[in-house]
């Protein structure tokens, strides 16, 4: 079982991203479950959503407390929310940020970091900082848990139309292409 927690703010599409990712995992032949965390979600407030993926049927329909991977689609969220809570030792962080690795505060539990300047790219593509599909590309690049082809297919079959569809496919591909992946050798993995 591979468990992912997506952090974002209301309106950035973290819940939709979880559903798109879960659908792509099904396209890759896996079982997948996504669960949004429940609260009074509103634009700008911190939100989370959860994804489980497995080769076997998944029975747990619960939140995730010890994820293998954290995807943070908002660059400033880590200042207000402990996005690293419960991350498995050696786990992966996929972070939207314009800063280099040296300037990012990463706890010892993190083994791999994928960085994507998603707000800048999203602003170029959409004219707005909508980072969710970009960060799905960044997730695919950083973890290899889902294929880019499956993600593309999900977006092609989704409600996105015309310009929105082209923009989101562009965002996905640029998220994948423009993510840098760093392995943190000295980290504690026990």
């Amino acid at each position: 079982m591979y468990e992912v927690r997506i952090h974002g703010r209301g309106g950035q599409g973290a819940v939709l991203a979880a559903q798109l990712l879960a659908t792509a995992l099904v396209f890759d032949g896996k079982y997948a479950v996504s669960i949004p965390a429940f609260g009074f979600e509103r634009r700008g407030a911190p939100v989370v959503s959860f994804i489980r993926a497995s080769e076997q049927p998944i029975r747990q329909l619960t939140n995730i407390y010890a994820p293998d991977c954290i995807v943070c689609v908002d660059p400033a969220l880590a200042r207000t929310v402990n996005i690293f809570a419960g991350l498995k030792p050696g786990g992966t962080l996929v972070q939207a940020t314009s800063r280099p690795l040296a300037e990012i505060d990463v706890p010892d539990s993190v083994g791999t970091v994928g960085l994507c300047d998603a707000v800048r790219i999203a602003t170029e593509i959409f004219g707005r900082p909508i980072t969710n599909t970009l960060m799905l590309g960044a997730f695919a690049r950083s973890t290899g848990q889902v294929s880019l082809e499956a993600l593309k297919k999900v977006i092609e079959q989704s409600d996105f139309r015309d310009a929105g569809l082209r923009q989101n496919l562009d965002a996905l591909e640029r998220g994948y292409a423009e993510t840098t992946v760093h392995t943190l050798e000295r980290r504690i993995t026990a």
């Binding site: 939709l16 747990q60 329909l61 989704s158």
Partner: protein, 418 residues
């Protein structure tokens, strides 16, 4: 979210590759309704049911479902409108929860009295007050004495499959009762899972001939009194009333075997991914010394905890209730045959007995067993609280302890800050 489908399914079965999808519990319920081809739906959105009726409205607007939709001014009207539809011979459906169900209560009770085969999904929600829009079983549990059949689902697939079956069950001549398909608000309503979509033509074959209003109809050529005022203590008033109630109870009793046969027929037609225990599921019970009991979407995490405890040498099993009304007394009696201690987890409260409602119902079955089985009530998952594998390890541990000591008169409040 939008429904997306696979071209080819990774399966090795001989059957044609099933259509695989990822969808929410609410969406699965709507798709199940569409497969059953109702004539009329009436809706009033309320959290966490809203995306279900939105999906239904979209299916109808897109021409994928041929039903009249009535956007009523409130839940009381929703159910009243559908009663008219059912009396005119329509296959009818709605969904609600929580305060919406409360507002609907007067026609809710009348529906079963008139033996109208309505299907209504309850996307279960905890009771107010304090304010809560989150999941819990309190709404469905609160109306359990109103003569409706109630089945609780564990998975998104079970939501879809049970929704279709509910129509055939409600309309069965030996039953003729309205049916609630209960799915957990939050974890099932908004949780997405991979499902296999049954084929419409095969579902049509399963459903057979539509036969909604053979017993009562608004038909000028067959004038009849519907919902008559009975005569109090005078005349044959009490006898009329008692005849209604006895008939409802008989329909409930008949539903037990109809539900069982229907689930078997469904699984035979659609395959193992569509096989669900109709009344009571026995999980790893054969040599179990003790067992935990669950209802609804909490069951998956509980099964994983049981597997882990089994791997550590614990002789623990699990009993899942699917059909809560009518209460499956004999099936539960069978499940409990070798059990020496029992922990029952409820997602709602029975205020009268200071325990969970399922626990209280189970006490009656334990009495019929004719031997003492120490049993403990656990209450958790209220107002959207999560019931995790860790939670169920606690339930397993505290149930095992009953082999050595007497249970507490107090429920164990899971998710509480003691």
């Amino acid at each position: 979210m939008n429904t997306t489908t696979l071209d080819t399914a990774p399966t090795t079965e001989k059957r044609p590759a099933p259509q695989l999808m990822l969808c929410e519990g609410n969406e699965a319920a709507a798709l199940g309704v569409a497969l059953a081809r109702p004539d009329m739906v009436a809706v009033y959105p309320i959290t966490p049911q809203t995306s279900l009726v939105e999906k239904l409205a979209k299916l109808i607007a897109d021409g994928r479902m041929d039903a009249d939709i009535v956007d009523a001014e409130g839940e009381h009207s929703v159910l009243s409108v559908l009663q008219g539809g059912a009396l005119a011979g329509a296959r009818t459906y709605t969904a609600t929860c929580g305060p919406g169900l409360a507002f609907m209560f007067e026609p809710y009770f009348r529906t079963s009295g008139m033996r109208l085969p309505l299907v209504m999904t309850i996307v279960t929600r905890d009771g107010i007050t304090p304010q809560s829009v989150w999941g819990g079983h309190q709404d469905a549990m609160t109306v359990r004495e109103a003569g409706w059949i109630q089945m609780y689902c564990e998975t998104v697939q079970e939501v879809l499959d049970t929704t279709v079956m509910a129509f055939r069950l409600a309309e069965h001549h030996d039953v003729m009762l309205p049916v609630n398909v209960c799915l957990d608000g939050n974890y099932l309503s908004y949780g997405t899972s991979r499902i296999e979509m049954p084929d419409q033509a095969e579902v049509d074959d399963f459903m057979g001939h539509k036969d909604v209003n053979w017993h009562v109809a608004l038909d000028p050529l067959r004038p009849m009194a519907v919902d008559p005022l009975t005569g109090g203590s005078g005349g044959n008033g009490p006898e009329t009333f008692v005849r209604y109630r006895r008939g409802q109870c008989a329909g409930m009793k008949n539903a037990l075997h109809v539900i069982t046969e229907m689930h078997e027929d469904w699984a035979r037609r659609f395959g193992e991914a569509h096989r669900f225990a109709p009344l009571v599921e026995e999980y790893r019970l054969d040599d179990a010394e003790y067992a935990i009991m669950t209802l609804g979407s909490m069951t998956g995490a509980a099964k994983d905890a049981v597997d882990e405890a089994r791997a550590a040498g614990e002789k623990v099993g699990l009993i899942k209730i699917k059909t809560f009304s009518p209460f499956p007394v004999e099936a539960l009696q069978h499940a409990l045959r070798g059990v020496r201690a029992l922990g029952v987890v409820d997602r709602s409260v029975n205020f009268r007995w200071n325990c969970g409602p399922m626990f209280q119902e189970t006490l009656g079955v334990l009495y019929r067993l004719g031997r003492q089985v120490p049993a403990q009530s656990f209450i958790g998952g209220l107002a959207g609280a999560d019931l995790t594998v860790t939670t169920f390890h606690r339930v397993i541990d505290e149930t095992r302890a009953l082999l050595e000591r007497a249970p507490s008169d107090e429920p164990v409040w899971l998710n509480a800050k003691d």
